[in-house]
């Protein structure tokens, strides 16, 4: 039981850190790409859309090669650590959050952008306006990416190594317990994983609803 608890805490840490960093990178990036016109804009969008479908094991392999002893970042000694697992999950989540957010940002009515301009909003304020108008889409993007990485096993297995007490998380432990015939433990880990996914979904949804309902300066 204590093993499952320890694995669950590590899963929450790895998944939540990865989703937080991915959100802070991908959402502003999508806003910038939406707001500014530049030559390779279509290529950037297409690249991220393509990367949403990248097989996680391929991401795992790339991160493995990057951090392996002979790899360019081998001297950092990050292979088979939680940091490597977080990085792999970030690489999986960023294209998903970017693509969904961008599709929502780009659907904002052109007339609303004109209104923001004529009411005196600066470029940054216009971007914030677009972000706020698309907040439901942003939450949807984060939840979709979280759903993808919370159940991800291939990449974290490769870069984390499923080491007991160090890099074992719920998904990799389910694989291990199943192979060992410890089905009760596997089912327990699966149930905890579902609970974590459910709790995070509820938390994010409640948070976004409370933001939506917040009223200002009313008397």
């Amino acid at each position: 039981m204590s093993e499952i608890f320890e694995i669950s805490i590590r899963s929450i840490y790895v998944n939540c850190t990865a989703i937080l960093i991915s959100t802070f990178v991908a959402v502003p990036l999508a806003l910038i790409v939406d707001f500014f016109g530049f030559r390779s804009k279509r290529f950037v969008i297409l690249l991220f859309q393509t990367l949403t479908g990248i097989p996680p094991v391929l991401v795992g392999l790339l991160v493995y090669l990057l951090f392996s002893r002979k790899g360019p970042l081998g001297n950092l000694g990050l292979l088979f650590t939680s940091t490597a697992m977080i990085l792999a999950q970030i690489l999986i989540a960023i294209p998903i959050i970017f693509s969904i957010c961008y599709s929502h940002f780009s659907k904002i009515d052109e007339k609303l952008r004109v209104i923001m301009k004529t009411l005196g909003a600066t470029g940054f304020q216009q971007m914030m306006g677009v972000f706020r108008e698309s907040s439901v889409g942003v939450v949807n993007a984060i939840l979709t990416a979280f759903g993808r990485i919370v159940g991800e096993v291939g990449a974290v297995m490769i870069v984390g190594g499923n080491i007991a007490g160090r890099t074992r998380i719920l998904t990799t432990s389910i694989v291990l317990y199943t192979n060992m015939g410890r089905f009760d433990d596997a089912i327990m880990a699966g149930a905890v994983l579902l609970m974590i996914a459910f709790s995070v979904n509820v938390l994010i949804t409640v948070f976004s609803d409370s933001m939506e309902k917040k009223k200002w300066y009313t008397r």
């Binding site: 007339k111 004109v114 301009k117 005196g120 009313t218 008397r219």
Partner: protein, 213 residues
């Protein structure tokens, strides 16, 4: 002189071209009328510095405008479109938006919003979401949002379309009241309304500002 424009030209990719040989505007209410598709809204968008065409001379408040500094000019002029466009927020937040982007204090925002809401008789709507109000109410909210920060110029595109008679009269009276401190351009198909409001009425046809009625 608010606007002093000579040989303004703006073209869409579709081929439609707006050409204004000369446009002079003193502190007053100027009306523009003409058939649909004649370029009235395009002209307003040029006056709001939202579209940038070519010109021989374009002076605003006596100074030749700098195309690299249109964002600061936009802070002094506002355009209120014919069809109301609101943010997915409360009515209060919609009206407060131009004040918020200008970094007014919370207390100033509250005062100004409640004051303008009373003028437009929308004080009961302030806590409602934008999608919970009717089209006519949304129109009044858009107008209130355009006037709340007291810009130098307000450009109104069909300000009383979608409004009932009483609301239309209320808006007309408000326009007349504020015209002493704010210059206003009104685009309307209603020539009688323009006669009631404006000291000068211009006619547009096929992208050209033709003559005074």
């Amino acid at each position: 002189m608010v606007y002093q424009i000579s040989k303004l030209q703006f073209s869409y990719d579709s081929g439609f071209t707006l050409f204004v040989d000369e446009f002079l505007m003193q502190n007053s209410i100027v009306g523009i009328t003409g058939p649909s598709g004649s370029g009235k809204t395009t002209f307003l968008l040029n006056l709001a510095f939202l579209y940038t065409g070519k010109w021989e001379s374009f002076k605003f408040m006596g100074k030749e405008i700098d195309v690299d500094d249109l964002s600061s000019l936009r802070k002094r002029v506002t355009y209120v479109p014919q069809h109301p466009i609101l943010f997915r927020r409360t009515v209060f937040e919609n009206i407060a938006y131009p004040l918020k982007v200008r970094r007014f204090s919370h207390e100033q925002i509250r005062k100004k919003v409640y004051s303008i809401a009373e003028n437009f008789r929308i004080q009961d709507l302030l806590n409602k979401k934008a999608w919970q109000i009717s089209g006519g109410q949304a129109k009044r909210v858009c107008l209130a949002r355009g006037f709340v920060f007291e810009p130098d110029v307000v450009l109104l595109d069909e300000p009383t379309s979608d409004l009932d008679e009483d609301s239309g009269k209320l808006i007309e009276q408000f326009i007349l009241d504020v015209s002493s401190r704010t210059s206003i351009v009104v685009v309307s198909h209603d020539k009688q309304q323009l006669c009631r409001l404006c000291s000068n009425i211009l006619y547009m046809e096929k992208g050209r500002l033709l003559h005074t009625l």
